[in-house]
């Protein structure tokens, strides 16, 4: 791997043991549900058994009368929000929808929608009490299908939603409400002219089912509303600052009244950004004067958090017979769930993002259906569209008899290429990831055997920068305590510590990283968008530079020279006449030279250049059962510079495995009444270790010029290629093209039998 031969760095590219390792492997790490406070009450929530209904009345009197019950809350206990739209650090949110999602207001829009909550002396009493709450419903027909929900006569979920066309004037307030919340349109070149140049055109329709992030740790929140009006929230989250802001806005109190203490987090993948429980626990705490803990069950997590949408897509690609892509067109409808907010925007931007496409037209729709409000999931929207585009690319390659790797290299997005939605790429590594696959042992080894096949596919994700902050204190023994605000879901505290260590010329072990609460550290945006190693890394490097400057001043004082004659390099300060002191020696002198040295750093300007990945998979199909075995899997990805290669590999492997689950078995399986029938891990089938081989990884390093060490985020793009790569491999194995996710045994067998 490149970094191993790269003498430029001492710490970057090495694989130190993670700072949180011992706690995690011994079970000492504290996750959200581990919080125990004196006097704590336990909460339970009443959730809708119906997918779509008006709430005619709620009677909580019997629950309140049950001994051991301390408080009951409904949406009447949360302030009215009106039509406010607020920037919440995870994008703007319609507060009316957000509060109605936390506790239903007059209407339930999906099964599992929360209606009321109880705080009691123990969880058993709380659970008994919610059964005593009487709700009278007026049932409405559920709208479960994205295309059906767009129909003129479809039942409408929200009476305040009218189609917003991005880039056009807002819809008239008196127009008819609809389920189509947003409409996107991006165009580049002249599509009709482009297709006219094509020798081959393929057009297919694709469907994908709603899927969940499948993190192991359920959502949780413990809240104490103190008598001084200050709230403390203990929660596992991807963003303590957005929890602070969402909670404050939902309760209409100042953000400075809310302190969020993030615990360790057992997975998020985009699903632990939105707030569900903290405002409810807060209201119950206010009513009782005691801390209240709420923890979801697995079924609650499936039914009432933020999965990624199901979709319907029509995609068309045209190429010349010598293998040049000339035009592409996409029509994409995403299930927003109960309220607007699916990742349809990013999906439209990603659909042709891997290619240099001269003419393109992309149209997208965000459509409300009676399913949970969707949320981010690893490269939100990109996996759906990669499934479509990357299958079509292979179909074209087959028809014009061109090697699919070759075709991807010849048409790859690269520096200077403009995406259909406008932006022009800086230096990116699409070509390099395809070349890495093409040159891999895997791709070069012929696959033999009946009903076996190979497929490749590529994927793109933007990666973002946003705002981060860090501070670092030098300890007298030469170590550094690093405090940063990005909650650590993938080993980021070590990755950030390594960048600080590199900048100061000390070892990773000499940095003691910690994730601070919202009162102890500067503002950090969410851990998402593959941004933390990049942006919080930059903040840590800035903090290191701040320390360097202060040590230079201290050394100048000690040596009685002007600071301009002192510099910091190679892990220490250097002055005139060969004077030098190592970082450790300087640290030992701090007490006598003015006390603590605290470095601080922020990042807000830097943006990332985008990440690409290409995967290769071999499968074997049992043609009598329609079951697919993954035989071999290789993922190549541009990591810019791999700070901690093991974590980069871990992200690539984890993303690939989630993509494999999405490809083969994962889906929200609804009955006609709109009830999800597989809301447990028995029937919602994420892959187990028996279902995937070792995922081989190839880290490609095309440094991102926007980061001092060239980091590119790596967390998201590896989930994009797997469904298409597997679909392509299935075709290679048995000659059947799958256009519908998941490619589960019944669906695949039906296609095989049709042949």
């Amino acid at each position: 791997m490149a970094t191993a031969e790269n003498p430029k760095y001492k710490v970057i590219g090495t694989r130190p043991i993670r700072h949180d390792g011992a706690d995690k492997v011994t079970g000492r790490a504290r996750y959200g549900a581990d919080i125990q406070l004196s006097g704590m009450l336990y909460g339970a929530m009443l959730r809708s058994p119906h997918a779509h209904a008006n709430i005619k009345s709620i009677d909580t009197s019997k629950a309140e009368a049950l001994p051991g019950v301390r408080a009951v809350a409904t949406s009447a206990d949360l302030p009215e929000q009106g039509d406010r739209v607020v920037e919440l650090g995870e994008g703007a949110a319609n507060m009316r929808h957000l509060t109605a999602n936390v506790l239903a207001r007059g209407k339930v829009l999906y099964r599992g929608h929360s209606i009321a909550a109880v705080a009691a002396d123990n969880i058993h009493i709380a659970e008994e009490a919610i059964k005593l709450i009487e709700v009278e419903y007026e049932l409405l027909p559920p709208v479960m299908d994205v295309v059906g929900a767009m129909a003129e006569n479809a039942p409408v979920l929200n009476d305040d939603i009218r189609t917003e066309s991005v880039g056009s004037a807002p819809p008239a307030k008196d127009s008819k409400p609809t389920n189509v919340a947003k409409h996107f349109l991006f165009e580049k070149g002249d599509v009709a002219a482009g297709f006219a140049e094509a020798d081959i055109i393929v057009e297919r329709e694709f469907d994908t089912a709603m899927v969940h992030q499948g993190y192991i740790e359920p959502h949780n929140a413990t809240v104490l509303w103190n008598t001084d009006g200050k709230l403390t929230v203990w929660i596992s989250t991807q963003g303590s600052f957005t929890v602070r802001q969402q909670t404050a806005e939902l309760l209409k109190i100042p953000i400075s009244n809310v302190k969020v203490i993030p615990t360790e987090i057992g997975g998020g993948f985009g699903g632990k950004i939105s707030v569900y429980l903290p405002p409810v626990a807060a209201v119950l705490s206010k009513k009782t004067g005691r801390p209240v803990k709420l923890v979801m069950s697995r079924t609650n997590v499936f039914e009432a958090t933020g999965p990624t949408p199901g979709s319907h897509m029509k995609v068309k690609l045209g190429a010349t017979k010598d293998g040049k892509l000339v035009a592409g067109e996409a029509w994409i409808a995403f299930e927003a769930g109960a309220y607007t907010g699916s990742p349809i925007g990013p999906a439209c931007m990603c659909v042709f993002a891997c290619y240099d496409l001269p003419h393109g037209r992309v149209e997208g729709f965000d459509v409300c259906v009676n399913k949970p409000r969707t949320n981010a999931y690893r490269a939100p929207g990109s996996t759906h569209v990669a499934f479509a585009t990357e299958t079509l690319v292979n179909e074209i390659c087959e028809k014009i008899d061109v090697d699919p790797a070759e075709f991807r290299i010849n048409n790859a997005a690269k520096e200077g290429v403009r995406r259909v939605d406008g932006p022009v790429y800086a230096r990116v590594g699409m070509v390099e990831t395809v070349e890495a696959i093409k040159n891999s042992e895997h791709y070069k080894t012929a696959l033999e055997g009946k009903y076996r096949g190979r497929g490749i596919a590529s994927g793109f994700w933007f990666n973002c920068g946003l705002k981060s902050a860090a501070s670092a204190t030098v300890n007298p023994d030469g170590t550094v305590s690093l405090l940063e605000g990005s909650t650590d879901i993938g080993g980021s505290r070590t990755g950030i510590a390594m960048q600080l260590a590199e900048a100061l010329g000390i070892t990773a072990e000499e940095v003691i990283p910690a994730v601070g609460d919202t009162d102890s550290v500067g503002y950090c945006d969410v851990t998402g968008g593959s941004r933390v190693t990049f942006a919080t890394g930059i903040a840590a490097i800035e903090a290191a530079k701040d320390i360097q400057r202060q040590l230079v001043d201290r050394a100048a004082m000690i040596w009685e020279v002007d600071s301009s004659h002192v510099s910091y390099s190679d892990g220490g300060v250097h002055g005139p006449d060969g004077k030098q002191l190592s970082f450790k020696e300087m640290a030992a002198k701090l007490h006598g030279t003015g006390g603590a040295v605290i470095g601080r750093g922020t990042s807000s300007e830097a943006t990332q250049g985008g990440a690409f990945g290409t995967h290769c998979v071999d499968v074997e199909v049992d043609v009598d059962l329609g079951k697919v075995q993954i035989l071999r899997y290789t993922a190549a990805q541009d990591a810019g510079t791999a700070i901690h290669p093991s974590y980069v590999e871990g992200q690539m492997q984890g993303g690939a495995v989630q993509g494999i689950g999405w490809a083969l078995n994962e889906e929200y399986w609804y009955d006609e009444q709109g009830e999800m029938r597989n809301s447990t891990y028995l029937d919602y089938r994420i892959p187990t270790c028996y279902d995937v081989p070792m995922i081989d990884t190839i880290i490609v390093e095309v440094p991102d010029p926007q980061h001092p060490y060239g980091v590119r985020g790596v967390g998201e793009v590896p989930i994009c290629p797997p469904p298409a790569a597997i679909a392509n491999a299935i075709y290679d194995a048995v000659g059947v093209r799958m256009h519908d996710l998941p490619m589960s045994p019944p669906k695949l067998l039906a296609e095989i039998l049709k042949k």
């Binding site: 049992d622 079951k627 028995l682 029937d683 089938r685 589960s744």
Partner: protein, 298 residues
């Protein structure tokens, strides 16, 4: 979770007396791997749990002239660890090997698997194929019933209030016999059968003809089924594709599955035939004294 009492009787008589006393609101507790989960999610709310793990009769695992006795509370790991089961009642070992993982197998019993009466229970088709007979004790004495007649619907069986399953008894195995159980699951482990098939065959001395065969089917109807006609169609027939195909067709004939999140009706019917053939082939190999080559779960 609903509050409950725990009782731990030391004799079958005492257990039956307790069951009768709490008439309907007590439930036997074997490994608890179904029961505790069902209580936790609120599907069952018994007032009393009667632990049957300490009853000697329910812990028997022995072979005699009458055949094999498997106590209702014997956990899976003991069953697949038993020499006789492994060599002669192999389908039962196959089933016990795939019920859950190691932790579950250390607790879960075939008595619990049968009494939970799930259509997809993995040991029931094997017990049907091996001709198992349920020995039931109750307030009015003991009775016996064939395994295939035990379940009456999803989660329902012939046990009357106060009755307890004591053991399942299997007839002695004739020479040239072999058996196998296999299921279709979308994953390779930790899953529930979309279709499960257990089969036992007895061949003649040449190993080329069927003397008899019994086939049990899971997850394709409201209860596990005995595919009697499919098995009978093989008696006296040569071992070849044609006879297997016929048996598969007869098994498909009686399948009446539903469409649900685990598979469509059409899929289950198709797979019933596929698995019947595969399972018979494996049972044949074993009847000939050879080893089968299969990857559990695949």
């Amino acid at each position: 979770m609903h509050a409950f009492d725990y009782q731990s009787p030391s004799t079958v008589a005492e257990a039956i007396e307790l069951m009768a006393k709490h008439n309907g609101s007590a439930r036997p507790l074997a490994g608890g791997t179904d029961l505790i989960d069902q209580m936790r999610v609120g599907r069952l709310a018994p007032d009393v749990l009667i632990d049957v793990k300490k009853l000697d009769e329910l812990n028997v695992l022995s072979a005699d002239a009458a055949g094999l006795h498997v106590g209702a509370a014997v956990p899976c790991y003991r069953i697949y660890g038993d020499e006789t089961v492994n060599s002669q009642y192999t389908a039962l070992a196959d089933s016990c090997h795939i019920i859950g993982g190691i932790q579950i197998q250390s607790r879960a019993s075939i008595g619990g698997n049968l009494c939970n009466s799930g259509p997809a229970a993995d040991s029931t088709p094997s017990m049907i194929a091996l001709g198992g007979v349920c020995v039931i004790a109750g307030p009015s004495g003991s009775r016996e019933i064939a395994v295939e007649s035990f379940c009456t619907g999803p989660g329902k069986n012939v046990l009357e209030p106060g009755e307890l399953l004591v053991e399942v008894r299997f007839p002695a195995r004739p020479a040239n016999s072999g058996s196998h159980y296999r299921r279709m699951i979308p994953r390779n482990e930790m899953d529930i059968a979309v279709v499960g098939v257990g089969a036992s065959v007895t061949l003649d001395d040449s190993g080329q003809n069927f003397v008899s065969a019994r086939i049990g089917l899971g997850a394709i109807a409201a209860t596990p089924l005995f595919a009697e006609a499919a098995g009978e169609s093989l008696a006296g027939q040569p071992v070849n594709d044609e006879s297997l195909e016929k048996a598969a067709a007869a098994a498909r004939e009686i399948a009446s599955p539903i469409t649900d999140m685990r598979g469509t009706r059409e899929y289950r019917i198709h797979v019933t035939g596929v698995l019947v053939k595969r399972v018979l082939q494996a049972a044949i190999v074993r009847a000939r004294g050879e080893q089968i080559d299969y990857c559990r779960g695949h």
